[in-house]
Symmetry: C2
Subunit: 203 residues, 2 copies
DNA sequence: ATTGAAGTAGACCAGTTGGTCTATCTCTCC
DNA sequence: GGAGAGATAGACCAACTGGTCTACTTCAAT
């Protein structure tokens, strides 16, 4: 998508002002890296954002900086989505966790689902010092805490262990969605999630 | 690793003849793509293989051909490793399947584990027509059958479903190993595998 | 010994990579 | 109505991309 001066659509909000170059770059990066991976070229990003070359280096110092910042924003949004999903599911931690798995199952079932962007970034960036890795690591730590808190609230016997299992399940679910279209991983994952939850509950 | 004319080490075998360019290219590609991803440059591959540029295009028609062929060989070797692991584990399908999960858990626990090469290739190659995708798809189908056969032998109520679950678990396990070093995903995965196996057994 | 296939070495190609730099334009604030 | 910040457009860069091509060597089979 090419962002244009006129007719800017900002997520259904009433404002119609076109966001600045920094914002447009982040949005373009979020979109392009999702479908084409972090390997997208700088030129493609600039063209999609409708931004001068110089702006990229002013705001982010380089491509790596843009990628890292875009991932930071993306993880924050995703974390919020997790929280919103759980909040909408009510107070029962069991229901809240299953709602998360169900939502991911729906995402992974989209035949055009390109895979988890964070895992893709980690696997694509073989340079272990790339700033993106720190962002994804922090995100996974956040998710782990998010899950573990629910398990604690549930009275689960091994909340950390169960959170580990749930993270493994989530990555596997998203991987299956990306690599085995038509395998319908949602049902298989939900049942595993139920086991993870119930396996640590007394009586 | 740079392959040299003299002192060729072929997996501990007694022969000391240096393999041809085709073989050296496949070995170099297997090694370099594992650590650096399928994005490695042609020059790096040629240099590592100690092979003339022309040989690549003679034998594989191009980089994509080499990647695809290298994946084909790699999947064949991995399939054989699965079979060998199961064979060494004896006759009980339960033990055989858990042996597979345990072995993958050991691989994923290596702090230098770079992640599943097939998932990495699928996520990195956004071109859906890239020949590599067909190879990885075939491999996953093979693994699914491999697992499902064991579940059938076990008398599992839903062998296909359980095989789906096991594939999800495997991908999640390998993803965790690559992205959450120190999280020790082997134990978490083994317990999930036990559940997958036992959940479909009568009595 | 000769021939021909296979391999090597490396020049060369157009296109692209991420990045720097200059010149111009546009806007806001004073 | 400046002045200055911020943005744009685009030239330019060296390095590298995958790929083609020519010239030379190596070696086995005739």
């Amino acid at each position: 998508m090419i962002y244009r001066v006129k007719g800017w659509h900002n997520h259904g909000m009433t404002t119609s002002a076109k966001p600045g170059p920094r914002e447009r770059l982040l949005l373009a990066a979020q979109e392009l890296t999702y479908t084409q991976g972090v390997g997208v070229g700088v030129d493609a990003l600039l063209k999609a954002a409708g931004v001068a070359r110089r702006s990229l280096y002013e705001h982010f110092g380089g491509k790596d900086g843009l990628i890292a910042e875009m991932l930071r924003r993306s993880t924050a949004e995703d974390e919020e989505r997790y929280r919103a999903t759980m909040a909408a599911a009510g107070d029962d931690p069991r229901v809240r966790l299953l709602a998360v798995v169900d939502r991911l199952g729906r995402i992974a079932s989209d035949p055009d689902f390109p895979g988890c962007r964070y895992l893709a970034a980690d696997l694509a960036l073989s340079d272990r010092d790339h700033p993106a890795h720190e962002v994804t690591r922090a995100y996974r730590r956040t998710l782990h805490v998010l899950f573990a808190d629910e398990f604690v609230a549930l009275g689960h016997a091994r909340p950390e262990f169960a959170a580990d299992q749930l993270l493994i399940l989530v990555d596997g679910l998203l991987a299956a969605g990306a690599t085995r279209p038509g395998s319908e991983p949602a049902a298989a994952s939900r049942e595993l999630a139920e086991h993870i939850i119930d396996s640590g509950l007394g009586a």
